[in-house]
Symmetry: C2
């Protein structure tokens, strides 16, 4: 059997899957942060294109993938599903382990799967420029790549501490033609106000979001794009799981366990959601979400309405949350440091349809090193969580079962974190119950 | 038509091609640097395993690829041949452009194609550790990857200036379990002698070679490995062109132009050599070698015997050379800064079977940026030369002709060079005739 299962491009899915109509319990609507009433589509039009808002609210099970989006997808899709045979042998397990390799995209992660359609829909509606924020840098890279494919401008607000720590991310975004500002920046009213009171402010994701949204809201030719959490982002990512389904079918197999890391939740959702109908129809298939103990949203958070950002500017979303003011420890998996999660993922976790588990970063880097020395490739720190989850799952799986995990990105621009790991300088973080209880007190008192 | 032509793993070549028996003029033998007599196989046994020496001298046209080597190849091979349709459209050309993507290997370049068999043959003969040198870092990464696959130790001597400039390369080599020394190091007699007289010496590739060879020659459990130039390295790389041949055949096409960059010459040779018999039988197929104007070995060097290193320790090889003391300007394509070239490639160039051309680094980075913004992927600075050559070739090609170039590696660990390019800080280098004539005077007076 081939180690790599490649789909022909003609087999690349022509529709994204929308889990909304299949959720056992309907999704709670996003609420206006002021009025606490459901947000209207019109309210979103200041920052998002209409086609994206329609997808956000759509209850159609299948959403067609536009041909120009498929054209760009074809630069790297379908991505390979790979049998991790050497990893199986090193573990001595009798199940099969597969990984879906999204690191082969130009940006090196799954993020282009949604960056490309978002750029496309904006382009269709005459938008000239897209603004966004980025923390670890994966999303900013993906959006600047996508904008360059459609000849659009892209402005990225990157949290200042990351901007300074990760110069390669900045250069790559520039190379795609994107402009990038360390946030807080002089480019927005919000940024200038922060800098006036604290010139040395090192920034935060919440602040970068505020700058990017302000930039979009104050320029007629500019819209804003988000890289995770929202429904439309998850829809776009389902192309991952839809391909996995076809790839396993091509070798006469079905998944028993689907494993992914969870920050905002989009890569995990992209892998598992297409298998939701099977699971609901009684098929024995487990969805395993892996998060860091330093940011244990699904494993220790509460399922309730909360703000998406520290500054309380975003709509209220019903999700698992650690409180919007929760400040996760500075682990290297920057993409997993989010206090909340995608409402669709949290809804399913609340129904008991998703099993969540949490690990320390050191044990995840240990798993990444084992992967590197058996399969050869260097995983992103975020992806190392999925690998750890897959290894623990495989150890318990029965002979002949299939464990499929999502290899969400490579770690070639995260080598500094490996240096810290190899030198034994990583710190593991977990929180006492009282710390989390205190953080949760900041949640608004809604439903 | 699919953009990506993927071969099934079962179609991966089972033999490497050896061009030696097909060369119109026999290859001149390597000479002992002291006696100027042909080197005997026994002389090489101090630093190379027997199986490698046999391949170096073999006149068999086909060399079987051992099954354990194929097993590791399968982690990333067969690599895709990709139609660069968006690049064609941006150029407005009517020919087809394809690129063979070797950047998908774990080490990010074509180098593992020879690192894997070299590690394997050493392992078979009981070698515990392999030493080598690395300049830009691609080869050191590939060999440490290959050694980790076979559970072997690997020691890399990295030119000190690169070691300090490229910390990510060092970390990646460490992550694979390789040990790495900035050269000159305290680890060898050679290194200590240099440091004693010049503690701030920033090193050179020649010096690093001397350290790696000394390390192998003075430890019974250790051999040395070279990443380019020698015949066996070129043989191993022919898997590239053999796959291209099958991939084009699968879509009913043949190459009209094969384009690759040339430093030592192994990636270029890997692409073109399998097509040598066709060319010799009269098929109209052009082999286009692209080098930097800052190191114009094939375009401005002399075809004669010269040392492979500055220190005059290696055997004399008959090749195009700029003189072994030629110090190429510090362009960013570090892998192309070599005064000589592979004897097989130079032999063919001397016969007029290879067309060599040279470009400035700025025009190559311009080409790389166009590739990035059309095809999405970030090329290594070395690879940018192949892209520039392919673009110029495509502009002159007839409608319907096929231009195939070798995408030898990605640039994700070379982003500092893109920063210099984007900021307009690149310098272009070329040499007056007198400078080259002077450098050539150092060549020994042999044949």
């Amino acid at each position: 059997m081939d180690l790599k299962i490649n789909l022909p491009e003609g087999e690349m899915p022509r529709q994204w899957y929308n889990a909304l109509p299949d959720l056992p319990t309907p999704l709670a609507p996003p609420l206006d942060p002021q009025t606490k009433q459901p947000v209207s589509p019109e309210q979103l039009e200041a920052i998002f294109p209409k086609a994206v808002i329609e997808q956000e609210l759509s209850t159609e099970r299948w959403l067609p993938i536009p041909e120009p989006v498929r054209d760009i997808y074809r630069l790297y899709r379908p991505t390979p599903l790979v049998r991790a045979k050497r990893l199986e042998e090193a573990l001595g397990v009798k199940c099969k382990i597969f990984y879906k390799n999204e690191s082969v995209s130009p940006a090196g992660s799954h993020k282009p799967n949604t960056a490309i359609p978002q750029a496309y829909y904006n382009k269709l509606e005459g938008v000239r420029r897209i603004s966004t924020e980025t923390g670890a840098g994966q999303w900013g890279t993906a959006l600047s790549f996508a904008c360059s494919m459609f000849g659009m401008a892209c402005t990225v607000y990157m949290v200042k501490v990351s901007y300074n720590q990760k110069p390669y991310r900045r250069i790559l975004i520039n190379a795609y033609g994107g402009e990038i500002f360390a946030s807080p920046s002089e480019n927005t009213k919000t940024g200038r106000a922060v800098l006036a009171s604290d010139p040395d402010c090192s920034g935060s994701l919440g602040l970068a979001i505020s700058e990017a949204v302000e930039d979009a809201a104050t320029h007629a030719d500019t819209k804003y794009a988000l890289g995770s959490v929202l429904n439309h982002v998850l829809h776009h990512q389902t192309i991952i799981g839809l391909e996995v389904e076809k790839q396993l079918a091509a070798i006469g197999e079905k998944p028993d366990y689907l494993v992914g890391c969870v920050g905002g939740g989009s890569n995990f959702a992209g892998l598992v959601l297409p298998f939701l109908p099977r699971k609901l129809s009684g098929e024995a298939i487990r969805f395993i979400a892996v998060e860091p103990k330093a940011c244990p949203t699904l494993t220790r958070g509460q399922f309730r309405y909360d703000y998406g950002d520290v500054a309380q500017l975003t709509p209220l979303l019903k999700m698992h949350t650690l409180g919007h003011a929760f400040m996760p420890a500075p682990i290297h998996a920057g993409g997993l440091r989010y206090h909340g999660g995608a409402p669709i993922v949290c809804n399913l976790a609340n129904e008991g349809l998703i099993d969540a588990t949490a690990y320390f970063q050191t044990e995840c880097f240990d798993a990444a090193r084992l992967f590197l020395r058996t399969e050869g490739f260097l995983p992103a720190p975020e992806t190392s969580h999925a690998i750890k989850g897959a290894i623990e799952t495989a150890k318990k799986a029965k002979p002949g079962e299939n464990v499929v995990f999502l290899y969400s990105g490579h770690g070639l621009l995260d080598l500094a974190s490996y240096d810290a790991f190899l030198q034994g300088k990583l710190t593991d973080f977990a929180y006492p119950e009282a710390h989390i209880a205190e953080a949760l007190k900041a949640c608004p008192d809604v439903g």
